[in-house]
Amino acid sequence: MNFSVILYLLGNVLLLEGVLMLLPCVTALIYREPQGVIYLLVALLCALLGYFLRRGRSQKLIFYAKEGFVAVGLSWIVLSLAGAIPFVLTGEIPSYTDALFETISGFTTTGASILRDVEALSHVSLLWRSFTHWIGGMGVIVFLLALLPASGGYNMNLMRAESPGPQVGKLVPKVSETAKILYSIYMFITVLEIVVLIVAGMPVFDALCISFGSAGTGGFGVLNDSCASYAPHLQWIITLFIILFGVNFNAYYYLLRSKNKKEAFQIEEVRVYFAVILLSVIFISFNIRSFFATYSEALRHSAFQVGSIITTTGFATTDFNLWPNFSKTILVLLMFVGACAGSTGGGIKVSRIIIFNRTVQAEVRRFIHNRSVEMVRMDGKSLDQDTVRSVSVYLVAYVLIFVASVFLLSLTGTDLVTDFTAVAATLNNIGPGLNAVGPTGNYADMSLIAKYVLMFDMLAGRLELFPMLLLVVPATYRKN
């Protein structure tokens, strides 16, 4: 393993974090909050440390697949370790474990919180908390790839380790150009949401935080009731945007660049994604209509919750823990489906679900005609065996981590539904689960062990399991 390239990357990540931490400092100036000084100090410290780590760069900046995965895994850990410091120093989250949980939850765009009273936080900390969603949504490494000088095709190994989805491809020949395009689209939609929300009457600070939260499909709000007290039309706007952020970004690229705009709507994953959303909204609306005064209110709440859960955002406008079993089950199932590959959302991803289904169908057909040659197809092209295999392995690894986590949590004395949905909500990067960790609850009362297990789950979920698994396997650290 080439540790010097990894250190070089970690240095860059810290430097970038230092720069990004200046945004909360600006907030502190506006609201005249003394906590800003702490953020400024931590930012400087990060930048300084990053600068020194970068200086020790080796001659060859080559990330082979192994270094790529390990570097990305470590980057996210370092990012979170440093990002948690200000919460502790400002005294707003006194325990470092809690602060770390909150930060990891932020960067991995989970949105699971250990805070009982969000409104007690300073504006600086609230903004930083939401901003971590935005940074984590598209990914720090992808951001770095857009900035760093190009150093060959091996950069693709970094991008592949951080970007979600079974097949990570490029939009244009150069990795750095691809990264720039992705971030431009991301930034554009975020700014659009901020502007629309402000025009529609939301306070500027809330609009910023909510937009960061929905762009990264994170879910940290600024109010204790998440999004429940915002006006109905604001909730509709948020619903629309979170669903848009769950769409495969390739679709936006096709809309922008391709001469044939239809291509964007022909991506199977995007079609299935919208079909699932539509069906779920209809079913839940009928199921919960008796809870609300009007149909439109039922529709609004069901659309908001479905959008929020399938994109793994985790905002809530109502306590869906009180809904009938049927609706709750749909929501829990949507947690596993997740958003599209190549979006900012988490979960298993719609494209993987499509591939699972087709693999099973092909296998069933092979039982009927056992000499039949079956190809698994998506978007009109047959997938090669490697992709199908890696998707299947992904599911197995996913289930293993899931089961192990639920098992570990069961030792800590919470009830089964809480354990199950807590793992589902963190491994899929959603945030709220059911019962104790439902929309009105939080993760504050979980035991220390449970918190660390869930932190691992959040990172594993965001990085699609393997970078984190690689970090805990001893073989990674052997010389050859």
Binding site: A150, G152, G153, Y154, N155, M156, N157, G169, K170, V172, P173, K174, V175, S176, E177, K259, D384
Partner: protein, 454 residues
């Protein structure tokens, strides 16, 4: 530039590596998924799997916006078809690899009628390079500039020669010849030396001069410059055919040893003056019988690198012949350079150089564009030829007053049919042809040699 490369074989991969280093947007197309994935992983390029001659595949690869398409698959016909279709769809410039001797005589007709910008034939260009070396065996490598009026010759400083232990500044006093030493290779180092640099036996030295002056220089330092009279070629592939044809016209006796009987008959039919031997060229007895110890030059052109290397090493031990070795793969080039293989020819580098030159010239159509380009030392030092236009920023200023980048040397100025080896007082004028030797890669324009103004 946006470039599409169809075919990721040996030549394709070398071109991809060169062009992606120069920062172009490259899309590769190949029928083999594994090859596409591997190449797309190793270089910063995008891959498309499919047949490059298909309209839809080219669309996928972005032919609409491409500036240049290179077709370098195994098949000549497919390359031509790919270029034809690409031209019709995208209207971009196209370059095809065509290497069948039957077509090679009709290159001009084909490229004009099909609207190709260029046809490359790696075997033929490599054969040309070998022929040049055989005509002047004192050199290991010869690159020509200004339509053959200026050459850069590489040779090895022999033991006990005048040059051994001689500082560059003193050479012009000792040997009165109008030449300039532009690069020296010592072990793995590539040096662009200054006047105080002291040469040692075993150094690989490149000099720039006119062909006549070069001959004079070699005579004075006591290196034999007699051209070879007969050549023994092992392996009768396309390159051997092209080489034999070229050598015949200059009256050099050619003997080709080829294993395959059918191929021997074809060669005997198309090369009436050459002697064709049907036998195993790697068999020591066959070699001895065919007079390997007596021939002036030995060229190993079999399809297998290891065989070529072994043959050349063997011949080096039994004769003083001029040896030329063809090596296809570029891996382990340091090891190969350390062996006594005479002149080593890398056909794919020669091809890649041609293409890179074309691309750089295209990129800079209005400026002082690149006329020729050679890689002097692996991938470390380039020699470029520029045509100087009116108003170029380097014009009419003595060279010593120009702030030229480090590791860059203005090696030669060619003006009014005369080669000038420049000194500090020399000036570049519009209309000149200037040859620049540079340790920095990627120059497009003559003004790139100047230090950027801060």
């Amino acid at each position: 530039m946006r470039i599409i490369i169809v075919g990721c074989g040996k030549v394709g991969a070398t071109i991809i590596s060169q062009l992606s280093k120069e920062g172009h947007d490259i899309t590769i197309v190949d029928i083999d998924r594994d090859v596409v994935e591997e190449t797309a992983n190793a270089y910063d390029v995008m891959g498309v799997v499919g047949n490059g001659a298909s309209y839809n595949v080219l669309k996928d690869a972005g032919i609409d916006t491409a500036d240049l398409l290179l077709a370098v698959t195994d098949s000549d016909e497919q390359n031509l078809l790919t270029c034809l279709i690409a031209k019709k769809v995208g209207g971009c410039n196209t370059i095809a690899r065509v290497r069948n001797p039957i077509y090679s005589e009709e290159v001009r007709f084909i490229s004009e009628e099909l609207g190709l910008s260029m046809i490359i034939n790696p075997e033929m260009t490599a054969a040309q390079e070998i022929a040049r070396i055989l005509r002047f065996p004192a050199a290991v490598k010869i690159d020509t500039f200004a339509k053959g009026k200026v050459e850069i010759l590489k040779f090895i400083v022999p033991e006990g020669s005048l040059l051994d232990g001689c500082a560059l500044g003193e050479i012009s006093k000792k040997v009165k010849a109008d030449i300039l030493i532009c690069t020296v290779e010592r072990k793995e180092e590539a040096i662009i030396p200054n006047g105080s640099f002291v040469l040692k036996a075993g150094d690989k030295v490149s000099i720039v001069s006119s062909p006549a002056h070069a001959r004079e220089f070699f005579k004075r330092i006591g290196i034999n410059i007699q051209r070879v009279r007969d050549v023994l070629i092992i392996g009768g592939g396309k390159m051997a055919y092209y080489l034999a044809e070229m050598l015949q016209t200059t009256g050099i006796q050619v003997k080709i040893i080829e294993q395959d009987e059918e191929r021997c008959k074809q060669l005997a039919d198309s090369l009436p003056k050459a002697q064709i031997i049907c036998g195993d060229g790697t068999d020591q007895d066959v070699l001895l019988e065919e007079g390997v110890t007596r021939s002036d030059a030995f060229v190993s052109l079999t399809g297998i690198d290891e065989e070529n290397i072994l043959l050349s090493l063997y011949v080096h031990t039994v004769s003083n012949a001029k040896i030329v070795t063809k090596v296809n793969r570029s891996a382990f080039s340091e090891v190969i350079a350390s062996m006594d293989l005479g002149s080593v020819i890398y056909p794919k580098y020669i091809t890649a150089d041609h293409i890179v030159r074309y691309v750089r010239a295209k990129q800079n159509a209005e400026g002082n564009s690149v006329e020729s380009l050679y890689h002097l030392i692996d991938n470390k030092v380039e020699a470029l030829e520029f045509k100087v236009q009116e108003n170029a920023p380097v014009c009419n200023i003595p060279l010593e007053k120009l702030s030229i980048k480090k590791n860059v040397l203005v090696a030669c100025i060619y003006r009014d049919e005369k080669t000038i080896i420049p000194n500090g007082k020399s000036e570049i004028k519009a209309g000149d042809t200037v040859i620049v030797v540079s340790g920095i890669q990627g120059f497009h324009d003559l003004s790139d040699i100047l230090e950027e103004k801060a």
